[in-house]
């Protein structure tokens, strides 16, 4: 399976989650989709290295307003 095919499948899952009002899952899948889009054409090993190198910050927000 190519990176582009994985990206398209995840994008479709993201849309399905969004359609069902599951924003957190949809956002997570879209994040992964965007990452794969940026690395389309890369080899799997290069993709694995990029994933390891770009560990996202774990963030949260508190609304006190």
């Amino acid at each position: 399976m190519k990176v582009a095919e994985i990206r398209e499948a995840l994008d479709e899952f993201g849309r399905l989650y969004a359609d069902h009002g599951r924003a957190a899952e949809a956002t997570a899948l879209r994040t992964l989709t965007v990452f794969l889009k940026d690395h389309e054409g890369s080899s799997v090993s290069a993709l694995a290295s990029a994933i390891r190198a770009s560990r996202p910050k774990k963030a949260t927000s508190i609304d006190l307003a």
Partner: protein
């Protein structure tokens, strides 16, 4: 409310930082499961919640619409926040002031540029920390998808001159550099 204020003898201004310091919330070591970053959205007024946020924070980011009424409020707010810094949290640093609700492509018109040179620059003088004041180069424009879609429209593929994703990435990079995010 009274019970909450009087609870346990600890200072009501430090309740939020107490939660952070208990462990499990913030990531102290790479293998911990806590958060790297916590963003606290607080009102620009001296409420108990705002004081707690300022006491628990390392950096302060002040968004303002680039209109005379909004921009004029930045100075008094920074003066108030500086007071909190001096009295309660000397670790607090000013990340900067970011202009919001600008034109869709993020460019500034002559009136907005003039506002930054006058009112905002004066306001930044209110923050007399060692690091000085800072106005972000990247502004956050008024775009419908930022308010109507999840994640501020980050995933929207629009055909505007500059995508929302690029705008937020640019802002994130500038903020990360400003606060020296590891």
């Amino acid at each position: 409310m009274v019970q909450w204020v009087m609870r346990g003898g600890s200072d009501v201004r430090y309740r939020l930082i107490e939660v952070f310091m208990k462990g499990g919330v913030l990531k102290g070591r790479p293998q911990d499961n806590g958060f790297d970053i916590v963003i606290i959205d607080a009102p620009p007024r001296l409420t108990t919640a705002t004081v707690n946020a300022l006491c628990a924070s390392t950096h302060l980011l002040v968004p303002t619409a680039l209109t005379p009424i909004s921009a004029r409020a930045v100075g008094p707010f920074l003066k108030m926040a500086r007071g909190i810094r001096v009295e309660l949290n000397q670790e607090l640093r000013l990340a900067g002031v970011v202009g919001t609700l600008t034109s869709p492509d993020g460019s500034l018109n002559a009136r907005e540029q003039q506002l930054i040179k006058t009112i905002v620059d004066d306001a930044l003088q209110e923050w007399k920390g060692a690091e000085g004041g800072y106005m972000f180069k990247r502004t956050i424009p008024r775009r419908a998808s930022m308010s109507t879609t999840d994640a501020l429209g980050y995933f929207v593929d629009d055909d505007a001159k500059i995508s929302i994703r690029d705008i937020l990435d640019e802002f994130g990079a500038e903020l990360g550099e400003r606060i020296k995010l590891p």
